[in-house]
C-alpha cells in the first residue's frame, strides 16, 4: 500500500489552507483528494463578492478568493487529485478513494485532515406538510444551476429560511428576471448576516416574514402554491394567519449540516454541531485525524475557514513530525451558547487558545467570560451577539499555564 504523510480530504478553502500551512511547516509529502473537477469547493459557485475582508483586506468574489489559494497550492507543488472521491477511511488512517484513471485505491496516511464541507438540509429532513412536487429545491443547488450551469429554476419564487445562501439567491434570481415573492423564517430573527439582509432583500423590496413558515405545499406534479403561516413561540402554526403565494419554486435555505459520513463510519465522536469533537489543534478524538472548515461547524465567513484550516494544517504537521503526549481539559459552555469549538484544550497549554461559538438567541450588552475555577482568564464586553454570527475570541497562553480543571465559558451581566 502506498504511504503518504498527510492526506487532506476535500480541496475547498479549509483543505487548501491546511495543505499550505503543513507544507510551510516542512511537510512535503501531502495529497489533497477532491471529488469535484476543480479545487475550491463551494466558493466556485459563490460569484458574489464579500470574501477576503479579514484575509486580504479586500472584497473579493468567491472564485477570486479561492484562486489565490489554488495558486499557492500550485506554487508549492502540493499534489492534488481531482474527481477523486474518498469512499472510506479507517481509524488506522487507511484511505480508500475512487477515480476513473486509477480505479479504487487504498493509501496509508500518517495523518488525515478532514475538510469535506457541508450539505444543505433538504425538504425531506424537515417534513414540510403537503405535497412533494417538483419545484422545491435547496438554495445551493439552485445557485449551482444558475452560476455554474447557467439555468434558472423558476420565475416566481418563495424562499423558506433566511440563511445566507437564500438571501444571496433572492438577489441573484431577481437580477436574472425572477420575482421573489417573500422570504419566510421560522425563528423570530434572521439566520443570515445583517449585511445580506440589507443588500439582498431590503434593496430589492423583498419582504422578510419572521416567525413564519410553510404550512402547506400544494401541487401534485408541479408546485402550484405554498401557504405561509405565522408560528407561535412553540413553532406551532397560528390558524387565521395563512397567506397564499402562487409560485413555481420553493427555495430552501434552512441550514447547512457538516458532511461527516466518513467520520460517522469510524465512530468518531461528534458534538451538537454534528461535526467532530476536537482539541485546540483540531485533532478529533481519533488519533491523527483532524477536521476543519464547514465539516467541523458551519462558518459564515470564509476567512475564518481559512484560519481554521491553517490551524488544522499546523496540528497535523506537528503530529507528523513528533507525536507528543498531552493531557486535556474540557471547555464547558453555559446554556446561552449553542456550542463551542474546540471542545477540549490540550495541557500543558503551549499556544494561545482560540474559541469559536454561537449564541442561541440574540444577546445585547453583556460580557463573555471564561473562567478556570473561580479565576477569570478572559473577559470581553459584547454589545450584540446574534445566532447568525460566529463569535471568536482568543485567550493568551500565559493565562492558561496552570489549568487543572475544565474551562467555563459564560455570558454575564456587565
Amino acid at each position: 500500500m502506498k504511504q503518504v504523510d498527510l492526506v487532506i480530504i476535500g480541496g475547498g478553502s479549509a483543505g487548501m489552507a491546511a495543505a499550505i500551512q503543513a507544507y510551510d511547516e516542512g511537510i512535503r509529502d501531502i495529497l489533497i483528494l477532491e471529488k469535484d473537477a476543480r479545487l475550491g469547493g463551494i466558493l466556485n459557485q459563490c460569484i458574489h463578492n464579500g470574501f477576503g475582508l479579514t484575509e486580504f483586506k479586500e472584497e473579493l468574489s468567491g472564485p477570486e478568493y479561492l484562486q489565490r489559494f489554488v495558486d499557492q497550492v500550485k506554487e508549492r507543488g502540493i499534489k492534488f487529485k481531482l474527481q477523486s472521491f474518498v469512499l472510506n477511511i479507517t481509524k488506522d488512517k487507511v484511505i480508500t478513494y475512487s477515480n476513473a484513471e486509477e480505479g479504487v485505491v487504498e493509501i496509508q496516511a500518517k495523518a488525515i485532515v478532514m475538510a469535506t464541507g457541508c450539505y444543505e438540509r433538504s425538504a425531506g429532513a424537515i417534513q414540510i406538510p403537503g405535497d412533494r412536487p417538483k419545484g422545491v429545491i435547496t438554495a445551493g443547488t439552485a445557485q449551482k444551476y444558475l452560476n455554474i450551469n447557467g439555468y434558472l429554476v423558476g420565475k416566481r419564487v418563495v424562499i423558506l429560511g433566511s440563511g445566507d445562501i437564500g438571501l444571496i439567491m433572492a438577489r441573484r434570481m431577481t437580477l436574472e428576471g425572477a420575482k421573489v415573492l417573500c422570504v419566510c423564517e421560522l425563528m423570530p430573527y434572521s439566520n443570515g448576516l445583517q449585511r445580506n439582509i440589507a443588500q439582498c432583500l431590503n434593496d430589492f423590496n423583498i419582504p422578510l416574514y419572521l416567525s413564519h413558515s410553510i404550512s402547506k405545499i400544494v401541487g401534485k406534479e408541479k408546485l402550484e402554491k405554498v401557504v405561509v403561516s405565522q408560528v407561535d413561540e412553540k413553532f406551532q402554526f397560528i390558524p387565521g394567519t395563512e397567506m397564499e403565494f402562487e409560485c413555481d419554486t420553493l427555495m430552501l435555505s434552512i441550514g447547512l449540516i457538516p458532511y461527516v459520513s466518513l467520520l460517522n463510519n469510524i465512530d468518531c465522536p461528534t458534538s451538537s454541531t454534528r461535526g467532530a469533537i476536537v482539541y485546540d489543534n483540531m485533532e478529533t478524538m481519533i488519533d491523527g485525524i483532524f477536521a476543519c472548515g464547514n465539516c467541523l461547524h458551519v462558518h459564515d465567513v470564509v476567512d475564518f475557514v481559512t484560519i481554521e484550516g491553517r490551524n488544522a494544517g499546523h496540528g497535523a504537521a506537528q503530529y507528523i513530525k513528533e507525536k507528543e503526549e498531552h493531557g486535556s481539559l474540557k471547555i464547558e459552555v453555559d446554556p446561552n451558547l449553542a456550542y463551542v469549538v474546540p471542545q477540549f484544550v490540550r495541557t500543558p497549554v503551549k499556544e494561545d487558545l482560540t474559541l469559536k461559538f454561537r449564541v442561541r438567541k440574540e444577546i445585547r450588552d453583556k460580557k463573555v467570560v471564561v473562567r478556570h475555577k473561580d479565576e477569570v482568564v478572559f473577559s470581553q464586553v459584547k454589545l450584540v451577539m446574534i445566532p447568525s454570527e460566529m463569535v471568536i475570541l482568543t485567550i493568551k497562553k500565559e493565562k492558561l499555564q496552570d489549568i487543572t480543571e475544565p474551562l467555563k465559558v459564560s455570558v454575564e451581566d456587565r
Binding site: 484513471e101 479504487v104 450539505y119 433538504s122 417534513q127 405535497d131 445551493g140 443547488t141
Partner: protein, 481 residues
C-alpha cells in the same frame, strides 16, 4: 390500431409480474401505464416488507397469495437481481394484556402454514437490544424479509420487455369498448389498442377501470400511509422488521431496516378521498413518531431525510379481487391489492397466467425465454480487484456521481442502456439510488440531469423531474434572447 393478445393496464408490481409470466409464451403482450415510469404509484411507496403471511385471515386470497409469494422470493430476487434479505419479523407485545393476542397470532400462523416462534422478553431483548425494555414477548417469523421495491418492479418489467413484452408509458386508459372477440382500449392521447384479453392491474384505480367494462360489487376506498425515512446512520438500530400487534386498521406502525441500510418508520392509516393525494401532514407524522417510540424508544428522528406517503387500494371486500368481470370472462380484474400485495404479486402473476389466461388463449412456450435480467453492477459488494478490473474495462465505474449513496457514473449509464431506461431524474433515483441519501440530490441532481440530457439528446430545460412537463430548469440565462 395496434393488436395484442393480452393488454395489461398498470405497471405496478401486479401488472409487472403478470407481464413477466406472460412473456414466457408466444403471445403479443402490451403493458400500459399512465405514468412516465413503471411502478410509479403504490408499488414505490410502501413498507417493502416481504411479509411471512402470519396475519391474514386464513382462507382469504391475502393469506393464500402472501404465503405462496413469500416462498417465491429467493428465486425471484436471484433471477431479477434485486436486493432481498430474509431478516425475519418480530411482532412485539409491549403490554402484559397483549400476550394472549400473540398466542392467537401464533395459531393463525399455523393455520396459514407459516413458521413462527413465540419468544419471551429476554429472548426478544437479546435479538433487539434497542427494543422497549418493557417488552413482554414477541412472535418471530423468520421467513419475513425486506426487498428493494423500486428495483423489483423495474427489473420485472425489464425482464418482460427483454422477452418481448411491449411497454407503453404515459398512456392513460380512459375508455374500453367491448367487441366480439376482445376489447378496444383508448387512452387520453387518443391511441387505440385492441386485445383479446385485458388484465386490469390499475391499483388505486382498479375499480374505475373495471367499471369501464361493467359494474362490479366492490369499490376502492383508499387509505393513506405516511412514513419517515432515516439515513443509514448506523447499523443495528433494529435487526428485524419490528411490528406492533395488528389491528383492524392494518399492520400498524413498523420499524425496519431497508435493503439500503436506511431505516423506515410507518405507516399511518387514514382514509383519503383522492387516490392521488400523497401529501403528508405534521399531526399524523408526529403520531407515527410516538407510536414507533413505544416499540423502539431510541429512534434517532434527527436523522430523518424524508417523509413520504403511499395509498393503499383498500377494497370494500377486504380481500384481493382476483377474478374475471361478471359477464366478461376475458376481462380480468385484479383489484383491492393492498398489503400484502407486493409480496403476493409474483404469485398473483403466476396464477393469473397459469390458472386464468391459460383457459382463454393457447400458451405456447418461447424457445428463447430467459428468466434472468442482464446482471447489475453491485460495486459496494465487489472485491477491490474485481472492482478495479471493471474500472479498467470501463472507467465510468471509477467516477462517482452520487456521494451520499456512492453511485458511479457507470451505474447511471448502465441504467440508461437497459430496456426500461429511466426518463426522469426520479426514475433514475429509483433505479440507482442517486438522490436518495442525506443530501436528497442536492449534490448529484445537476450531474444526473446532465446525463439524461446527453442520453436523450435534450436541452437541459427539457429534462423532467418525474412526470411529463415537470422540467426542473426554466430557462437558459446564458443564451442570448
Amino acid at each position: 390500431m395496434k393488436k395484442f393478445d393480452v393488454l395489461i393496464i398498470g405497471s405496478g408490481a401486479v401488472g409487472a409480474f403478470v407481464a413477466r409470466n406472460l412473456s414466457k409464451y408466444q403471445l403479443d403482450v402490451a403493458l400500459l401505464d399512465k405514468e412516465n415510469d413503471v411502478g410509479n404509484m403504490t408499488s414505490m411507496a410502501n413498507s417493502a416488507i416481504v411479509h411471512s403471511g402470519y396475519d391474514p385471515v386464513p382462507g382469504t386470497n391475502k393469506a393464500k397469495f402472501n404465503v405462496l409469494g413469500n416462498k417465491m422470493f429467493d428465486k425471484i430476487a436471484d433471477e431479477l437481481d434485486v436486493e432481498f434479505e430474509r431478516i425475519g419479523s418480530l411482532t412485539v407485545a409491549i403490554y402484559e394484556n397483549q400476550l394472549p393476542m400473540l398466542e392467537d397470532l401464533a395459531k393463525r400462523s399455523e393455520q396459514n402454514g407459516v413458521e413462527v416462534k413465540l419468544l419471551n422478553a429476554e429472548e426478544v431483548k437479546k435479538l433487539e437490544p434497542n427494543i422497549n425494555p418493557e417488552v413482554k414477548g414477541a412472535l418471530l417469523a423468520p421467513t419475513a424479509g425486506i426487498i428493494n421495491p423500486f428495483n423489483l418492479v423495474v427489473h420485472a418489467v425489464e425482464n418482460a420487455v427483454d422477452n418481448g413484452v411491449n411497454l407503453f408509458l404515459n398512456e392513460e386508459v380512459v375508455s374500453i369498448e367491448t367487441k366480439e372477440n376482445g376489447y378496444v382500449v383508448r387512452t387520453r392521447k387518443g391511441n387505440e389498442y385492441e386485445a383479446k384479453v385485458v388484465v386490469n392491474a390499475a391499483g388505486l384505480y382498479s375499480d374505475k377501470i373495471a367499471e369501464l367494462v361493467e359494474p362490479v360489487d366492490w369499490k376502492i376506498t383508499p387509505r393513506k400511509g405516511q412514513y419517515y425515512v432515516l439515513d443509514h446512520y448506523k447499523l443495528g438500530l433494529v435487526n428485524h422488521v419490528i411490528f406492533p400487534l395488528p389491528s383492524e386498521k392494518g399492520k400498524g406502525i413498523l420499524v425496519s431496516r431497508t435493503t439500503s441500510d436506511d431505516y423506515i418508520v410507518g405507516p399511518s392509516s387514514e382514509p383519503v378521498e383522492d387516490p392521488s393525494d400523497l401529501s403528508t401532514d405534521s399531526m399524523t407524522l408526529a403520531n407515527v413518531k410516538n407510536q414507533a417510540k413505544d416499540m423502539v424508544p431510541g429512534i434517532p428522528f434527527n436523522q430523518a431525510i424524508r417523509a413520504f406517503s403511499g395509498n393503499r387500494a383498500t377494497c370494500t371486500r377486504h380481500d384481493f379481487v382476483i377474478e374475471s368481470a361478471p359477464h366478461h370472462e376475458t376481462f380480468i380484474n385484479l383489484g383491492g391489492i393492498e398489503s400484502p400485495g407486493l409480496v403476493s404479486s409474483p404469485a398473483i402473476g403466476e396464477y393469473v397466467v397459469e390458472s386464468m389466461i391459460r383457459n382463454m388463449l393457447p400458451l405456447k412456450e418461447k424457445a428463447n425465454y430467459n428468466p434472468r435480467v442482464r446482471p447489475y453492477y453491485h460495486l459496494k459488494k465487489m472485491k477491490l480487484e474485481e472492482r478495479n478490473q471493471l474500472i479498467k474495462e470501463n472507467r465510468d465505474f471509477g467516477e462517482m456521481v452520487c456521494f451520499c449513496e456512492q453511485v458511479s457514473l457507470g451505474e447511471v449509464k448502465d441504467a440508461l442502456s437497459r430496456s426500461v431506461p429511466p426518463r426522469s431524474v426520479k426514475a433514475m433515483k429509483k433505479r440507482v439510488r442517486a438522490g436518495f441519501g442525506k443530501c436528497q440530490g442536492g449534490f448529484c441532481q445537476p450531474r444526473i440531469l446532465e446525463e439524461l440530457a446527453k442520453h436523450y439528446g435534450l436541452d437541459w430545460t427539457e429534462v423532467n423531474y418525474d412526470e411529463e412537463n415537470t422540467n426542473i430548469l426554466k430557462e437558459n440565462v446564458k443564451e442570448l434572447k
